[in-house]
């Protein structure tokens, strides 16, 4: 807990109101999934190992147990999300489930949208794909708005956002075509079986974009820079937008889908909901192929080993075992509850509701 939260509550009446809204929304999320007969599970915060995700930095701590022979020490890691635990339960036959829990990510940007410790909703739908989860997400928003006695038109970040369904769905490939006239599939290199920084650079040069590419620039960096500069700010804001079909390279836990022009794991069945610049959630049709998961694990581990700033940690190979055992077809959504509260309460900063 933020040590100043008590003092903020005493000094600022709005803090109490904001916190109560968060608690109310958490209760509504629970009602929504219980009505649908999802089992609520309780994931462990401290873990012996985590899924390798090269784009996340983690919190590490040391556990000390005392026995007759003295202290037994063990590294423990705070979970970055309940994903691994929930999928293991799915593999063990628990069926559709949800978790409402604190999650922990180190090295997050100092901004009004990020916290190191944040509240997360994660749910898994057995037998679903990401298109089903798009609908569940829309329904969850409608359910919350109705129960808060809000209309379908929500003011957030000085934009008027109509949350009535369906929300527009736009693929990453279409967005790059629309706002940059770049067909990302043309930047795929069949020889490398990967997107190529060389091909993408060529497009940047052809379009005469003021983007600097150095020899150290990676495809990931260039893709993200183009998305953040030309696509994200141009997304419509009158409705929430479902941005779908991310490059598989950036989505190691998602089920891949082939491209139109090329064979290979170009795209992942993944979507994010963006509302007026706020990224609300991240969804995959989950990859259930153990062999593919093993190779993406190895790829992520090699990326982690080149990043010297990251805290080293032990990798959760049991997760791959769970897939070998048999993960049923499912799709999962990770949703930031703090951001959901920012949206429904029209709060500028995530710090307003950080307790």
């Amino acid at each position: 807990m933020n040590t100043s939260f008590f003092k903020q509550l005493i000094a600022n009446p709005a803090t109490k109101e904001q916190y109560l809204l968060k608690l109310q929304i958490i209760q509504l999320i629970r009602d929504f999934f219980r009505e649908r007969k999802y089992i609520e599970i309780e994931p462990p915060i401290l873990n012996n190992a985590l899924i390798p995700e090269s784009y996340l930095d983690i919190y590490q701590t040391e556990e000390r147990r005392v026995g007759l022979d003295g202290i037994v020490r063990k590294n423990k890691y705070l979970m970055t999300s309940p994903e691994a635990f929930q999928k293991k339960l799915l593999a063990a036959g628990f069926g559709s489930n949800f978790a409402i829990t604190r999650s922990f990510r180190n090295g997050e940007p100092l901004s009004g949208k990020h916290l190191g410790e944040f509240s997360m909703l994660e749910w898994y739908e057995q037998g679903s794909t990401y298109t089903n989860v798009m609908q569940t997400t829309e329904e969850l928003f409608t359910f919350i708005a109705n129960n808060l006695n809000l209309s379908q038109k929500i003011t957030y970040n000085s934009a008027n956002i109509d949350i009535s369904t369906p929300w527009p769905r736009m693929s990453m490939r279409d967005l790059f075509q629309e706002f940059l006239s770049i067909d990302l599939e043309e930047t795929w290199s069949p020889e490398d079986n990967a997107f190529s920084v060389k091909h993408l650079t060529q497009k940047v040069v052809e379009k005469n974009l003021p983007i600097t590419v150095e020899t150290s620039t990676t495809w990931e960096e260039l893709f993200n820079q183009l998305f953040l500069t030309y696509v994200e700010p141009a997304l419509p804001t009158e409705k929430p937008v479902i941005v779908m079909d991310f490059p598989h390279e950036l989505s190691p836990l998602a089920r891949p889908r082939p491209g139109e022009k090329h064979q290979g794991n170009l795209w992942a069945e993944r979507f994010e909901v963006m509302i007026a610049g706020l990224e609300i959630c991240d969804t995959y049709t989950e990859n259930t192929d153990a062999a593919l998961q093993k190779s993406t694990f190895e790829h992520e581990i090699s990326k982690i080993s080149t990043k010297k700033v990251h805290t080293p940690y032990d990798f959760d190979w049991e997760f791959v075992e769970a897939l070998e055992h048999g993960l049923p077809d499912c799709s999962g959504n990770a949703l930031g509850i703090d951001r959901l509260v920012m949206f429904f309460g029209n709060y500028d900063s995530i710090l307003d509701i950080a307790a």
């Binding site: 100043s4 003092k7 600022n12 090269s54 940007p109 003021p210 960096e221 820079q225 998305f227």
Partner: protein
């Protein structure tokens, strides 16, 4: 050449052969790998504000500017007027280039103006300004908690959050960049 690591709000850069003023800058890591500096910047030729995202560590060219000390006279809705105390020559700067600094400026005080191609484009603001509190709720004695705050209005009309123990008439130090309270002034 400046590294973008050090790109800050209120910096002037040459970008794509045009002069720009950084109106906003934030570190950003999209949770998908790699780090960026996201900025909003104003083209000084067209006055258009555009968003842009630099890769962390990318090189940008800082604009070559000169400095000139002038006295601040007054502001209207769109611009602020300054005067050269030696020649009485006046110059004005668009308020959106002064940004939130404007609310901490006192008429009659001297400021260092930033001049690009003979045209004043902004002011070089001190990292800290000292202003008198003109309005606030009564001080709460003995409360030295760092994080509990109340609203105060200072002599220039700006509103800022101050600790509960601050009283009307006290002079306080403010960081004009973020509008944050920095401490009591001992002046």
């Amino acid at each position: 050449m400046a590294q973008t690591d050090s790109i800050r709000k209120s910096m002037f850069i040459m970008f794509n052969n045009e002069p720009y003023f950084i109106t906003d800058a934030e570190f950003y890591s999209p949770g998908k790998g790699s780090a960026f500096t996201r900025v909003k910047m104003k083209n000084l030729n067209t006055n258009r504000v555009i968003p842009f995202t630099f890769k962390s560590g990318e090189r940008v060219e800082e604009l070559s500017v000169n400095f000139k000390t002038m006295q601040y006279l007054f502001s209207d809705d769109s611009s602020s007027t300054f005067m050269d105390p030696a020649t009485y020559e006046q110059a004005s700067i668009s308020n959106d280039l002064l940004q939130n600094y404007l609310q901490y400026m006192k008429a009659g005080e001297s400021y260092i103006l930033i001049v690009y191609q003979e045209q004043p484009i902004s002011i070089k603001f001190p990292p800290q300004v000292t202003l008198e509190v003109t309005e606030t709720a009564p001080a709460v004695r003995g409360n030295t908690a760092n994080n509990a705050t109340k609203e105060a209005i200072v002599e220039t009309g700006a509103k800022i959050q101050v600790p509960l123990f601050i009283d009307i008439g006290e002079k306080i130090k403010i960081d004009p960049e973020y509008g944050t309270y920095q401490g009591r002034s001992t002046e």
